[in-house]
Amino acid sequence: MAIKSKNAARFFPRAARITAFILACVFSGTMLFSEATARNKSYSLRKADAYDEIETSYASSEEYRDQLKDMYEELCILGICELANCDEEMNYMGNKYIMSDLLYYLDYNHYGYKKTDKGIRPVSDMFDYYVSYTRPRDAAADELSEDEESTDSEMTAEETAEEVQAEDMTLFATNLTSDVISEGMTEKERLSRLQDSFSSYILRADDVMTSDMTSSGSMLYYSYKTVEDGKLSADYTDEAYPDNFLPMGGWYHDSYGRYVFNFGNHEPIRFFAYPETTEEGRIARQEYTDIKTDTVIYEPEIYDTMWQNEEGVFYSRSIFEMPDYKAYAGETSGLTVFIAPKAGLLEEYSTAYAREVSEYELYRNIETVSAVLALLMILYLAAAAVISGLCREEGQLFSGRVPIEFLLLAFVLISSYLVSGHIYSYSSFTQPLHSITRSALIGNVVYFAAGLLLSAADIFILMQILRTVFGGRLRKSFGLPKLIRRLTNYYHSTAIYQKIRLIPAGEKLKRRTINTFIICGIAVAAVIVLIAAESWDFEGVVLLLIFAAGVYTIYMLVRNLFLAGEISKLEKRIDALKHDEPFDEEIADNSEIKADIDKLESISEAVNEAVEERLKSERMKIELVANVSHDLKTPLTSIISYIDLLKKSELDDEAAAYVEILDKKSQKLKSIVADVFSLAKATSGIDVNMEELDFVMLFNQSYADAEDKISSSGKTIKLTVTEQTAPVMGDGAKLYRVLQNLIDNALKYSMEGSRIFLELTRKDNSVVFIAKNTSSYPIDFTADEITERFVRGDKSRTDGGSGLGLSIAKSFTEACGGTFDIELDGDMFKAILTLPIREIKEEEKNEEKDIL
């Protein structure tokens, strides 16, 4: 479906394509950069309960909420740890380890604070705060005596002193100036003063949360454990962050001297009343994360034992599961926390926040626009690539050179990388553009360039793919099949393969079967061992092994199937060799039966050579005999001619008698030469003209032909012909010669006055001719001897015959496919000729009748 038209290509001139490509890269680079920047900005701008949306107001933003929550937590812990344990003069009377943990906690979280002679005072440039702890005189005394023995006596003394003056004792800390809050005011006055002074605040007092904030945003919830009857609840309690409020939170302490705080934080914060040097302290501190080193030293698990290493003793049981574990709810009713954003500051933050939001939106808009533009450009380029492919444009960069699988893989990898957003985790995008640092700027530029280059590569690859697919080169551009082919070819050229190739098919089959057995055996054994040991640790390995064994077995079975086909070819080849037929099936050079076929071919060649050699030698023999007989005939011709001339000339009686002898001998020589020649021809099997004939008729003709000789011989012949007809295949002239020889032989060598028996019968599927006579000479030779050439029954007789009569009879009979035997019994001479009868089908018989 190649498009020849230049019109289609006209819409995509080179310059336009290059321009479109550059624009597409720039736009998609811009899109990626905008997306990355916007996404990074959204982390700090997003809504807490809806992560894919951003919060447009700073007061509701996550950032602001986190600040507020941290402040609240800090103030709560300060109130519980410090204010609740100070005397009237603000001298800390509580556990010193708790205090050190508090300081560490502030440092660790980079909370601003200052240490004054009146204790720890948080410093915040964002919030005005007020925290106080009010201790009822008697309740405080009771609690203290129960909880902490070390401070017991002092506190009791203090409280007793306070009780005299007032009912409650309140200690507070604040960053407000004394013109707003002063020590001289009562707690109630201070609180009403605070509420009056600030339009937006959060107040926790008497376990009640009051909020006058326009928005503190909403968080999801946090969970903590409650304490009931000295035991921690089994389940966590979830407390939600209500809109504009913070969760109330609480705390508890336990029998291991831990103070656990749940004030607005997901994770409880723990302080330790015992030093690390004591057993209890060590147990308590080692259980979870060590705050000081921020390393996990022990992850509690549900085990029942305890072990010890160089880091200390570890209880294998969770601390909550320890038999002496007890938890006590901490008192929070005296705690008062007030937080208000500093006047003016919130507005300032809000302005900055709003700018961030607008930047975010700007990036989002840029992203949308550049995405649309990039898409348009890519569509244009894709169309250009398709048209270019259909037009079979030549001379394109890399066209067809790079394997298509590589291109597809690269396209998928780069595209998925760009879409997955891994690239967006680059941190410099969070910085606002107006205050960006130099290094962040460089980072941005680098990122932009990286995005641009990746997009460029992606678009370019896409175009290459489209051009390949629509250019009809898809099939050719696959590199993997080529690689496999090349590897296969390489393998085929190696010595190992050459060796394997020459292994006979049967051996190959044997080896493969054994290998398959071994591999399946290993797999089965592995499964059995696995089941017996009931250990499933190596389950994957075993499954892999079984899978591999299965794949191998199937592969081998498939190969054996092909081998079986090849072996049938081999059998066909053997059959062809057996029947001496041509074998024209193609046997590939890498065929598995190559070795066997090669051997067979060489046998076949050897056989053919032998046959040819034999034929050649037969031909040579005939030629030799022909030449010899010719060479004999020529002088013989002269001899006979001149003897004849001699006979015609006037000779005296003696000479005439000599000439007569010469004449006889030369005639005999003549017949010997003729017989030798025809005998040689018959034994070599050439010059035999097989035709269909009737042996009975042949016999009759021969007999009739010899009738003169028979009557003149004065011997009696007894004929027995049982058959009317005996169709055989044979050379008529040769068989006539055989019968003639046998009759002549019988006439010549039978005893005077004896009878000669000629029998023609049928035995099974053969016609049998027997000539029997009583020899006139004692038989002093064997049956084998008599059919050998030049052997005669009467060794002394010299007249007539070449001595080849029976040899010729035997050779001619055999040349016609029959058998010729001599049987000797006393003086009884018996020649037996057998020829297979050719069965004539009814139809043929009818046809013959029609012809006749």
């Binding site: 007989s629 010719h630 005939k633 020529t634 013989l636 011709t637 002269s638 001899i639 006979i640 001619s641 001149y642 004849d644 001339l645 015609k648 030369s666 003549k670 003729a674 020649f677 010059d687 035709e691 004939l693 009737d694 042996f695 008729m697 042949l698 009759n700 003709q701 021969s702 007999y703 009739a704 032909d705 009738e707 003169d708 055989v728 044979g730 008529g732 002239a733 068989l735 006539y736 006749l852």
Partner: protein
């Protein structure tokens, strides 16, 4: 007789054989010209008025067959091949090259003379008379049967046949080339049912052969197809 003056060219590379044949022929009253290879034969043929050629096949310079082909381009005189090659294929080859007869060595001198006479007779006597087409005359080679006159001649020489022999010959000559079994011949000639008639027919056949063939053992016309029957060769 005029044919006694006939000149015969004897060609053979064996000078003794040539001499023997020449002597034999001369004793019969023929003139002979001798040649010892094909080329010499052609020269002698051009120089003399030759009536018959006796030629060997295997000769130096030019072999007999090539010489026959050259002679046949110009002349129509009888050619008898005289060769030691006795194969049927050799005979067929020689005859198809244009030879009139084929005698194998070692030849029987009597037979040789008979064949020479026969060929000459055919050439000089019958050849001259040419082809007087009698409708009742069947002619196969030198064998002629005049059905109305009940007369058979071989190379012009009359042959005496009995009535049965004539009938058999007529049957075979009318269907020259076709093989007849003994039974068939019997049925057609004797007009009786045939049973074990091989001998009867064979005896007649043998008698006919003795009368019409020069060498009854190697017949030219009436042939036995062993095991099948009898036929008269349909020759040119």
């Amino acid at each position: 007789m005029e044919q006694l003056a006939a000149k015969i060219l004897v060609v053979d590379d064996d000078r003794d054989i040539v001499a023997a044949i020449a002597k034999l022929l001369e004793m019969e009253g023929y003139d002979t010209i001798r040649a010892y290879d094909g080329i010499e034969a052609l020269e002698k043929l051009a120089e003399n008025d030759i009536q018959l050629i006796l030629i060997d096949v295997m000769m130096p310079r030019m072999d007999g067959l090539s010489a026959i082909m050259k002679i046949r381009d110009k002349r129509n005189i009888p050619i008898i091949v005289l060769s030691a090659k006795s194969e049927d294929t050799d005979k067929i080859l020689g005859l198809s090259m244009g030879a009139d007869d084929y005698i194998t060595k070692p030849y029987n001198p009597m037979e040789l003379i008979a064949r020479v006479k026969s060929s000459l007779r055919r050439y000089i006597q019958l050849g001259d008379i040419g082809s007087i087409n009698k409708t009742d005359v069947i002619k196969i080679g030198g064998l002629e049967l005049d059905k109305s006159a009940k007369q058979v001649t071989v190379d012009g020489e009359p042959v005496r046949l009995t009535a049965t022999e004539l009938k058999i010959l007529e049957l075979l000559m009318e269907n020259a080339g076709r093989v007849f079994s003994a039974e068939e011949i019997y049925r057609k000639v004797w007009n009786e049912d045939a049973y074990a008639v091989e001998n009867t027919v064979m005896v007649h056949i043998r008698h006919i052969r003795e009368k019409i063939e020069i060498d009854p053992k190697d017949p030219r016309y009436l042939k036995v197809v062993w095991g099948i029957g009898y036929k008269i060769e349909k020759c040119s």
